[in-house]
Amino acid sequence: MDLNIRRKSTRAPVTGSLIETYPHDLQMYKIPPTENISLQEFETLALERLTLLRSLATATTLKGLRAYSDEWKEYVISDLRNQGLKYYSKLFEISRCGATEADLQARRKDHIAHFILRLAYCRNEELRRWFVARELELFKMRFINMSGDAVETFFKLNNLCYNNISEEEKTEIITFLRESTSHPNIENMKFYKVKFFEVLDLVKLRKVFLSGGYAYIPHKDFVSVLSAQFRTHLRQSLAVACHHLGEIEQDERLVCLLKGLHQSYTGNNYADTKAVVPIESLDSLSVKSFPLCMRQLHDQLRLAHHLKHGGRLQYGLFMKGIGVTLEDSLRFWREEFTKIMDLDKFEKQYAYNVRYNYGKEGSKKNYSPFSCLRIINETVGPGDCHGCPYRHCDVSNLKNKLQGYGLDPQAVNDIVDVTKKGHYQVACSKYFDAVHSIDLGLGINHPNQFFEESQKLIKGEIKVEIKKENKATVKKEALEEMDFDEISEWN
């Protein structure tokens, strides 16, 4: 099987020993692998990498640990060890340029597996975003944990050369550097000048001094420059890979494998649904089966007969996802909005939006309802009611709201406590348990998932479902572990 999906110009050196191909633990994955591997190895490598990325996702979004913090790192490492992925836990812990056989094999697997997952994750925007986010976390963590001499080698290997600013220049701007850089002891650091768009993550957080279009960064912040390059390159490659999928997917077995891979993790994107929900039932559904983000939009709409753009989008797509038809949806919005405006205005300014959500206007895409990740990261401005209430409400406000809904005071306190710690999705799960008077501790990562779980529970299906799911995963893990045993003998 040939993995190469690259453009003609970047043909990799096929010859050469492993040490020439893989001199360093940390790779930028510029050149795709060209060797042939068995379908079995292909599958194993894919699943192992997926486990790794999944572990990162759990740490960040479900456990709510701060990315790159010590707890975060520890969680991932111990998770990888538990899953029997010793080589990934090693690569993750520290990056060096050792040359033992185990080092080289680990790098080879890292390299190939990364490219396999590109194929599985290039299919649509949602998947790409998830994949890029995880690979980026991985890359950053590994860069941060590079040993001193490895850093130098890394720069050399990747032809990265930057010149630091002179002492005079530094003295001139030292107050600004002190104000705007988030490192202690900047007096002893060398500073480099790069264009502001090379370090967007620092710009975004206002953690760098900017002047005349340049960002002044110490050596430590080069992780930003490189991860930005890494991200751009990866995004482009995914777009290219997507175009070439047809060629690769001539092998039926591969198609199944690659497609199944992402479904096994990200689950449904809720863009197409079979159920039909009449709008008359929304009021009652909103009480139990809507997560707080949607319940609050629903209430606001009933109260003010209006929602701003962000709210219409978030709620409209959710509604589509639970099975409200386009006709019903139009009727629903129309009935509310025309309480404060005339029909003409609604038809001209808002009906388009509703049809757009259903892929009937504009670019005619079938938009998927937003996931929690997306909603939590929304920008919420004055007058907006969308977003995730655990993230975008004052604590006192949240508390009042929950009390107002008649939730048990203990539950309210629990929810508020985890919210304060920034674990929004955990709070959401606790809210789920509270409104259903149950103790499930689901991992919530999509409002529509919240809805479906709630419906299952209400209709009495959940018990069966949970068992089924558990069994399925247990089996799979057993399988994966078997593979790992074989592999660990090589190490």
Binding site: E179, F197, Y214, G381
Partner: protein, 399 residues
């Protein structure tokens, strides 16, 4: 004057306005430069016609075509979109957005939770001061921090201002880049459910925030007196909600209730109580280290509509178009003149066309000044474009 303005006459007046007053030549040059190296024809324009019919993906190759299009369609609203890889009217499906000015939109309705003089669509000279502050802060940041030079400031025609950055680096900035610039400049965050919208943490204040605060300080007391933020019971409650520390909040409440209603007085006392409290309770400092600054920012810092800035192909009202509801011209102004700008001296289509109108002469004059302001920005943009092309050529020769 606005009172005499009648929306129904617009269809008769607009053709004359577009021919006689709209600076077609400069406009085309500005857009050409801003589209380069793509031709002007790849730029999307969109029109809204008298009966609300909305035409997208229009484009022009030169001034003559613009004039013809104006006469044929007589747009009531004129918006500018992005630069595509082809003419936007053809092959819409595989067209790609290549460039677009970096734009900012600030609208006074987003100040409704702080301004007391007007609400919603209304504006007056008092709330215009928010725009003055916004313009000064942004202009400085765009120039000093990001190194941009071709910055055009436009009055939106009713209740806000727009800013267009045409520098090559700004036009070709990708979506994440725009997002980062927007986030860098956006300090007020949160919706209906969050009272406190500014959080500065407890580390050093970033250089750009310090600079913004210096600008706010020039206007703060004046705005405070204009708006009387804290004079009413509600206003006072609003202030108290921003104090996260309970003990301090109680102290402030006790103190301020007894005072006369003047917001300035109340503010000064608040600062006093705050400082005293900090002296006594060093330990509580972290959470409220920048409380005073946070409050100033919440009341006066620019409230950007970040979605407009982040979106690569958001359509935005063109400079020198007529606002269909007010009849006012979207004039270009100089940021250092914003302070002196009077809203009722902004030319309207009516006063421009009717020589006998009372303020006609003054409006004509202001229109001329505004076109001159526009020219200045376009000239300097043309110069830097020429330089850029020269350096680019040199670099490719070097290779």
């Amino acid at each position: 004057m606005v009172g005499q303005y009648d929306e129904n006459l617009l269809s008769d007046m607009l053709p004359i306005y577009y021919t006689k007053f709209f600076p077609q030549n400069v406009f085309c040059r500005w857009l050409s430069c801003g589209s380069s190296p793509q031709p002007l024809a790849n730029r999307e324009l969109s029109f809204t016609l008298a009966d609300d019919v909305y035409l997208r993906y229009l484009s022009i190759s030169n001034q003559k075509e613009l004039q013809t299009l104006f006469q044929k369609k007589c747009p009531h609203k004129l918006d500018i979109g992005a630069v595509y890889n082809t003419k936007p009217s053809i092959a819409r499906h595989d067209s790609v957005v290549l460039a677009r000015e970096l734009v900012f939109d600030i609208d006074l309705t987003d100040y409704d939770e702080v301004r007391t003089c007007c609400q919603e669509a209304k504006v007056c000279q008092k709330c215009w001061k928010f725009m003055v502050v916004a313009c000064e802060i942004l202009d400085k940041a765009l120039k000093d921090d990001f190194g941009f030079q071709s910055i055009l400031w436009v009055f939106s025609g009713r209740r806000g201002i727009h800013c267009w950055v045409s520098d090559y680096e700004a036009r070709t900035l990708d979506s994440p880049g725009r997002g980062a610039v927007a986030d860098y400049l956006c300090l007020i965050m949160g919706g209906e459910n969050q009272s406190k919208k500014v959080h500065l943490g407890s580390d050093n204040l970033h250089t750009s925030i310090r600079r913004a605060l210096n600008i706010i300080d020039k206007y703060f007391e004046e705005i405070l007196q204009d708006q009387e933020f804290f004079a009413t019971a509600d206003g006072l409650k609003g202030l108290l909600k921003l104090i996260p520390d309970e003990a301090l909040r109680t102290q402030v409440e006790k103190k301020l209730e007894k005072l006369p209603e003047s917001s300035l007085e109340r503010w000064k006392h608040f600062v006093n109580v705050y400082e005293g409290y900090c002296r006594e309770n060093g330990f509580a400092m972290r959470k409220i280290k920048y409380l005073v600054e946070e409050i100033k920012i919440q009341y006066c810092y620019p409230r950007l509509d970040v979605n407009v800035t982040k979106g690569f192909n958001h359509l935005l009202k063109s400079p020198f178009s007529i606002h269909p509801k007010t009849g006012k011209v979207s004039i270009v102004f100089k940021p250092n003149n914003a302070r002196r700008m009077k809203l009722d001296e902004v030319p309207t289509i009516h006063s421009l066309l009717d020589d006998s109108a009372a303020d006609s002469a003054q409006h004509q004059n202001n229109m001329k000044t505004s076109v001159k302001n526009f020219q200045e920005v376009v000239f300097s943009l043309e110069k830097s474009e020429a330089m850029r092309r020269k350096t680019d050529a040199n670099i490719s020769i070097d290779f």
